[in-house]
């Protein structure tokens, strides 16, 4: 939704445009977005150099441990987080739960994550994100999913990975799948693009755009299971443009140091000397899980 006003007298101002929505995501590139559940954690994240914080009710590893329905945060907590930090504040809404998204937009959050980490609210439809002035980020496990979310109005795509596991393997799989198919579409013969659109269940216009530009029309970040500076370096080298870290920070032995170390590792992802410096004596990373041992695969939520 775009709103225009002539506050300048001569020059009309337009808010909520695709350029403005995608633009904020562009500004976060090379940075770390950290999951936080309260103002105190948000402050630690900002102190460590996070480019934004993500407000949610419980970090994914606690959602996994405690079970039950995971929902949007209490507005009180989101307001507390907004008052505690100067950086952008994102918040999670359940898949398809446009009423939660309306509440988050009214709270003036900077980005909404329509997230599989929370319990889905609709089994058929994701949120129609074009109806909002606030921009949305959505998770994807493959290129088709990413393009369907973009068609619905998402302005930033992140890999789903497998949140709350401290295991980066799924995020790597999703990133390789998305970037691999982008490369194959780039190299495809123009007549093959219809086949790609059909197989990906995605719009031919977006497939054509990828064929021409060799990249998604929105930034691609990585999320789900990152828990060390080396994990951040790995996914940045694979082609992610920024990282989300959830349980990996506040479930580690020393969250303050871990947070700062991951920030530095993301900025200098291809400089092994910096990675050694920030990784030394960092204490224990969060306890991780083998994917095969999981009861619930969060990445299977959404379609």
């Amino acid at each position: 939704m775009t709103n225009t006003s002539a506050a300048d007298g001569v020059n009309e101002r337009t808010t909520g445009t695709v350029r403005v929505k995608r633009g904020l995501a562009e500004m976060l590139r090379g940075g770390v977005i950290m999951d936080v559940v309260n103002a105190e954690q948000a402050k630690i994240a900002e102190d460590a150099g996070a480019v934004a914080v993500m407000a949610l009710e419980r970090v994914p590893s606690d959602i996994r441990r405690d079970g039950g329905v995971a929902r949007m945060s209490d507005p009180e907590l989101i307001i507390g987080i907004q008052e505690a930090v100067t950086i952008p504040v994102m918040a999670k809404a359940r898949i398809g739960h446009f009423a939660e998204a309306q509440i988050l937009e009214s709270l003036n959050v900077d980005y909404i994550d329509e997230s599989e980490v929370l319990t889905p609210a609709d089994e058929a439809y994701h949120i129609d994100k074009w109806n909002f002035t606030v921009p949305f980020v959505c998770g994807a496990t493959n290129l088709g999913e990413a393009l369907r979310r973009i068609s619905e109005g998402a302005c930033l795509i992140r890999s789903k990975g497998e949140a709350g596991t401290g295991n980066v393997v799924e995020a790597v799989r999703h990133l390789r799948s998305i970037l691999g198919d982008i490369g194959r579409i780039r190299a495809a013969n123009p007549t093959e693009l219809f086949g790609w659109a059909k197989n990906l269940q995605a719009s031919i216009d977006l497939v054509r755009e990828i064929h021409e530009t060799g990249k998604l029309p929105v930034p691609l970040f990585c999320a789900g299971g990152l828990s060390t500076p080396a994990d951040a370096s790995l996914v940045m080298q694979l082609g992610a443009e920024a990282v989300f870290v959830g349980s990996g920070i506040f479930k580690s032995e020393d969250p303050v140091r871990m947070a700062a170390a991951i920030v530095e590792a993301t900025a200098h992802y291809d400089d092994p000397a910096v990675l050694v410096k920030v990784s030394r004596g960092l204490g224990d990373a969060m306890r991780g899980f083998e994917i095969a041992s999981l009861e619930t695969r969060l990445a299977e939520r959404g379609w």
């Binding site: 020059n11 500004m27 590139r29 090379g30 940075g31 150099g49 100067t86 950086i87 606030v134």
Partner: protein
């Protein structure tokens, strides 16, 4: 003939690629700068959009903060957009207490002056030195609250019922509170290159 100068783009965080593309399209040699050694090899520096608190911390942890202050004090040309403008300012309002800007241009800036993302906007903007308005994208943009005598205001917008500067120049330092790198209009980058004699 002396080799053409190299323009650096601070590449710690933010929309580095867009600035690199804009400069490359204008035929300039570009070097990304993440270390003091890389800074030594450039004649001018562009500071991109991004998150100013993050960039300030990364300047310190990378060891760039000290050398960069010295180069700017010594007259190195610089162009900062949005977060880059905040970094180049003398004083930052609504920032973190530990945010110590580089003081390369005599301006006081207010962070996120227009509000949060819902208030981010696009608008046409008349800029002194350009023959027609430029389409400007303002994202959680800062504004210039006060400026020193040596500062030239090149563009202003209405803010709380007053006109406040959003593009300024002092000597060979240029700042913009919007993102010229996000559109295909290269005229502000060109203006910077002209100012510094490239």
């Amino acid at each position: 003939m002396s080799p053409s100068p190299t323009v650096g783009v601070l590449a710690l965080q933010g929309d580095v690629r867009e600035h690199t593309d804009a400069l490359s399209a204008l035929g300039v040699r570009v070097q990304s700068v993440r270390t003091p050694a890389e800074l030594e090899g450039v004649e001018a520096l562009v500071l991109p959009g991004g998150e100013s608190t993050t960039l300030g911390m990364l300047l310190r942890s990378s060891g760039l903060d000290g050398p960069l202050r010295e180069r700017l004090a010594g007259g190195m040309p610089a162009f900062g957009t949005c977060a880059g403008m905040i970094l180049l300012a003398t004083t930052v309002l609504d920032g973190r207490a530990d945010q110590v800007p580089l003081a390369a241009i005599d301006i006081v800036v207010r962070r996120n002056a227009f509000g949060r993302q819902l208030e981010s906007f696009e608008s046409d903007l008349s800029i002194t030195g350009l023959d027609s308005p430029m389409h400007a994208v303002f994202i959680r943009a800062p504004i210039v609250e006060r400026y020193g005598e040596g500062v030239r205001v090149l563009a202003a917008v209405e803010y709380r019922e007053e006109l406040r500067p959003v593009v300024c120049q002092e000597g060979r330092v240029l700042i913009a509170s919007f993102h010229p790198e996000l559109t295909s209009d290269r005229r502000l980058h060109e203006l910077f290159l002209t100012h510094i004699g490239i």
